[in-house]
């Protein structure tokens, strides 16, 4: 199968995925493993007064019951932004699911049985699980202020206040100001593969298998917690069974690593789905948007206050908030903008990265607010967007990366595909919204490529392929450049002892950053092929070009493979290239670096609403993304459609429900619904815009989050268009929509009654 860029060969690693041979972390068994089971307390916050393990220890096969007292003191803490998360809770459990002890046993059965017999003495403490409660001046502090010394906010539940803006929103004149608050629920990643971890002593070091997206980052965390040098911490990261951001950062790896070192045996911890709900989630939000409009629809200013409810430990959530809100004012030009975003700690599951990285929350608010403005001004919702949309090259954030695509083209195509200019059928409503997200602001990706003697290729790349298809894309780039078909290319990932450093797999970066790295490694090899060809064919090197698998000699073309035989000679050997792609930090930039690219998407939907049940049906869902260049168009389509459907989850059905004790009521697959094959739009249309204007190989931009960003606003707009109801809280469950419909009817009845009374008065 050809590896040509722009084609869609079958997925690299695909055969294992359809035969069951693909080995995920939970499929790996080590000899003499101990099975770990976490012990938690059934409330949001508790002071731990004692752990009685006597009964648990009597269960046959139980090895030990480990509490904070058994681990190093002071308890090692870790976290991608703040070192605020203890390996195991010390004295206080801070959210429903925060483990206070862990049972180790020879079998899973014994570990589970014993975990239920561990008697944890605890005193329930007041907890905050909502933004309002966390901000109350009398609220208990989620974190000890000593964790954040010298921090002005240390004595509050606010982590930081991220402010960005330009112009003076208080001074710009507007004909209309639309001011509303929009809320977004707490939702969870629900990767079908629950998080899993194995740690084992490995000579004078440690080996850790994890469902992690960022193996090199995890390696650093583990080195920090264990005191081992990086070279003695080997992280194996088999392809995750879905990540979506939830598997970016360390969770229980430090715990299993310390347990394995302590026990001198491998330790295995495979979370249940319920436990993953208590390990990762997206931040909920309340976003107040004030948009000032001129009467012609020109945006005069936007004033955005975005509060995000994060969890008990920061994880990467502070960055989610700063980066997610940074583009709050969207891809629109405006004289003034003010964005104030706050991550707010609470006694809930630590929120982390989740596809879209904080953008969907603000996007939902701002795009909905634009629609409300258009409605009040009597303007078309598409026109108001096109009027304000930045043109290519325009610095819509005055100091930052200018618009890097023909965004009008994307929006106009989406409008065309939904039939915006034609009337919708009776009872049908349409919505259109625009999403934008900043790509990576820094990056460092090394790679190694080996061109073997027979012309086959091995690529070493520290990217994780969690389904997005990075393995395939990197194989295509190397195969195309070195002249190897797909099945002659192997991509090795997920082993820090073998694969060179890669910063992370996130922010839709891998095609651009690792792609460029692999491309540069191939260029180095092509340079060596060129010198080899000059020698083999006795021609001046300057007259030879090597590109896309082909050696162009002055008088003919030969395949790279054909040069290798005579070039390498009797001893064989290989040609090796090393790649590097670096995007350095920019200290003065509010995000620490300008976005490498923007993910830009326009989503347009047509919906009907069942007036009796409130059930929303998407008749047609159009998603158009500017991807620069699709290295693999089928995978691009899969990412866009998958993102769109994932977006329908938080738009229509998904949300955590809490009880008064701050416990999650709907843990697990029965009570927490995600889209199934029965919840799909009746018709899904995904298209891409390719102008080869991205910074990646062949003009590619990153993609795979874009199609999720503005789903909520587009769907809510269609519901409004179909029914007249404005809903500012997600998800648009049948119950919520039904209530809004009844409220609409009640108001209409009152208005009718008033009208009839008028002649009397």
């Amino acid at each position: 199968m050809s590896a040509r860029v722009g084609g869609s060969p079958n997925r690299a690693g695909g055969i294992g995925r359809v035969t069951g041979a693909q080995e995920y972390v939970a499929d790996i068994r080590l000899a003499d493993e101990l099975h770990a089971k976490l012990v938690t307390v059934p409330c949001a916050r508790a002071r731990i007064t004692g752990v009685d393990a006597a009964e648990a220890l009597r269960v046959p096969g139980v090895h030990s019951v480990v509490t904070a007292a058994d681990l190093p003191s002071p308890m090692p803490r870790f976290g991608p932004q703040f070192r605020d998360r203890p390996v195991l809770a010390v004295d206080e459990a801070k959210y429903h699911g925060d483990p206070v002890a862990v049972v180790l046993a020879d079998t899973r059965d014994a570990a589970e049985a014993a975990a239920g017999l561990v008697r944890v003495g605890y005193e329930e403490l007041p907890a905050v699980t909502t933004i309002a409660a966390a901000l109350d001046p009398g609220a208990p502090l989620v974190q000890d202020p000593s964790i954040r010394p010298d921090d002005a906010f240390a004595h509050t539940n606010v982590v930081r206040e991220h402010r960005v803006g330009w112009g003076d929103v208080d001074a710009v004149a507007a004909d209309l100001v639309v001011d509303h608050v929009y809320t977004f629920p707490m939702v969870t990643h629900f990767a079908i593969e629950p998080h899993a971890y194995i740690a084992a002593p490995d000579g004078d070091g440690i080996a850790v298998w994890s469902t992690i997206q960022h193996p090199n980052w995890l390696q650093k965390v583990l080195a920090g917690v264990t005191g081992l040098p990086l070279a003695k911490v080997r992280v194996y990261a088999p392809d995750p069974g879905g990540g979506f951001g939830g598997k970016q950062h360390a969770k229980y790896e430090p715990l299993v690593a310390l347990l394995a070192l302590r026990a001198g045996r491998p330790v295995r911890l495979v979370l249940t789905l319920e436990e993953t709900f208590q390990a990762v989630r997206r931040a909920a939000s309340e976003v107040r948007v004030r948009t000032g409009f001129r009467s012609d629809g020109t945006i005069a200013f936007q004033d955005i206050a975005a509060d995000y409810l994060i969890g008990a430990y920061v994880d990467i959530a502070d960055r989610v908030v700063s980066k997610g809100s940074y583009l709050g004012a969207g891809p629109y030009r405006m004289p003034a903008a003010r964005i104030v975003a706050r991550p707010i700690l609470s006694h809930t599951v630590p929120s982390t990265a989740f596809r879209g990285f904080g953008n969907p929350q603000v996007n939902w608010a701002v795009e909905s607010n634009l629609d409300e403005g258009a409605s009040l001004l009597g303007l078309d919702r598409l026109d108001i967007r096109l009027r304000n949309l930045a043109r290519k090259g325009e610095a819509f954030i005055p100091w930052d990366t200018p618009a890097d695509g023909d965004w009008q083209q994307t929006v106009r195509r989406a409008a065309e595909l939904i039939g915006w200019d034609t009337p919708a059928a009776p009872g049908h409503g349409r919505g259109i919204a625009i999403g934008i997200k900043s790509g990576p602001t820094t990056g460092l990706s090394y790679s190694t490529v080996r061109l073997l003697a027979d012309g086959s290729v091995v690529v070493y790349a520290g990217t994780s392929d969690m389904g997005q298809g990075a393995r395939t894309v990197l194989a295509q780039i190397a195969g195309d450049e070195l002249g190897a078909p797909m099945d002659w290319v192997t991509v090795v990932m997920g082993d820090t002892a073998v694969v060179p450093y890669d910063q992370q797999t996130s922010a839709s970066r891998s095609t651009v950053l690792m792609g460029n790295s692999v491309l540069s490694a191939c260029r180095e090899i092509q340079g060596k092929v060129r010198a080899m060809a000059a020698r083999v064919y006795g021609v001046d090197e300057a007259t030879i070009r090597v590109d896309r698998g082909v050696v162009q000699l002055p008088d003919r073309e030969v395949a790279i493979r054909d040069v290798l035989g005579p070039g390498l000679g009797r001893l064989g050997g290989e040609l090796v290239g090393n790649g590097e792609m670096r995007k350095d930090a920019e200290p003065g930039h509010p995000l620490g670096g300008a976005p490498a690219f923007f993910e830009f998407n326009c989503t347009a939907v047509e919906a009907t609403v069942d007036e009796d049940t409130g059930d929303v049906t998407l008749v047609r869902h159009v998603t158009v993304s500017d991807v620069g260049k699709a290295i693999n168009p089928l995978q691009v389509r899969m990412q866009d459609e998958g993102a769109a459907i994932q977006g329908l989850g938080h738009t229509l059905m998904e949300h955590y429900i809490f009880d008064d004790a701050g416990r999650i009521r709907n843990l697990g697959a029965i009570d927490y619904r995600i889209p199934t094959s029965m919840d799909l739009p009746l018709e899904m249309v995904s298209e891409i815009v390719e102008n080869a204007d991205g910074p990646g190989p062949y003009g590619a931009k990153g993609m795979s989050e874009g199609a999720l960003l503005c789903v909520s606003a587009a769907v809510a707009a269609a519901v409004r268009d179909a029914t007249g109801v404005v809903i500012r809280d997600l998800p648009l469950t049948p119950e919520r929509v039904w209530r809004a419909l009844r409220e609409r009817d009640r108001e209409a009845a009152v208005a009718e009654a008033v009208k009839h009374e008028e002649p009397v008065s």
Binding site: R17, V18, Q22, E23, H189, G467, L680
Partner: protein, 158 residues
């Protein structure tokens, strides 16, 4: 808790006798006792479909079936779909149509889809979506999965 029961199974055509604790599920037996880890574990409450296998020609969530209940039965797992190293038409269609993304739900999707094809030679897209409604895919590759099943059905008829 650990009283072992001996059970006989025919797994992917091969007779197997194993001893299992009475409370262990068929999923446990397949993954832990037989080393057939292609069948996946996710929700353990019969909602996600990742552990779908065929039991005497009927698909079941193997997390909801006790291993002892399968005593004497024929079990087909994802490992049993390919014959003599060749992918089945359905597996090939999943590969060709990009139905597998992260791949974790795919063994269950394949088993459910094969069962659907065994019962309905030419299912329509809505029939496929209904037939696979019990198999969650968070990558949401539903469109490609449906296309793959449609293609496999067409292939079978040829």
């Amino acid at each position: 808790m650990n009283d072992l029961v001996s059970i006989d199974l025919t797994v992917n055509g091969r007779p197997r006798t194993i001893e299992v604790p009475a409370h262990h599920t068929l999923l446990d037996a397949l993954r832990d006792d037989l080393g057939l880890t292609g069948t996946k574990e996710c929700c353990l409450v019969g909602e996600c479909g990742a552990c779908t296998v065929s039991l005497d020609g009927r698909i079941v969530d193997s997390c909801l079936v006790l291993a002892v209940e399968a005593d004497g039965c024929a079990v087909t797992t994802v490992e049993g779909l390919a014959r003599e190293g060749r992918l089945s038409p359905l597996q090939q269609a999943f590969l060709d149509h990009g139905a597998a993304q992260c791949g974790f739900c795919i063994p269950g999707q394949l088993m459910a889809a094969q069962d659907l094809l065994d019962r309905t030679a030419r299912p329509t897209a809505p029939e496929i979506q209904e037939g696979l409604a019990g198999n969650l895919c968070r990558c949401a590759g539903y469109e490609q999965i449906t296309e793959a099943v449609l293609a496999a059905a067409g292939e079978a008829e040829r």
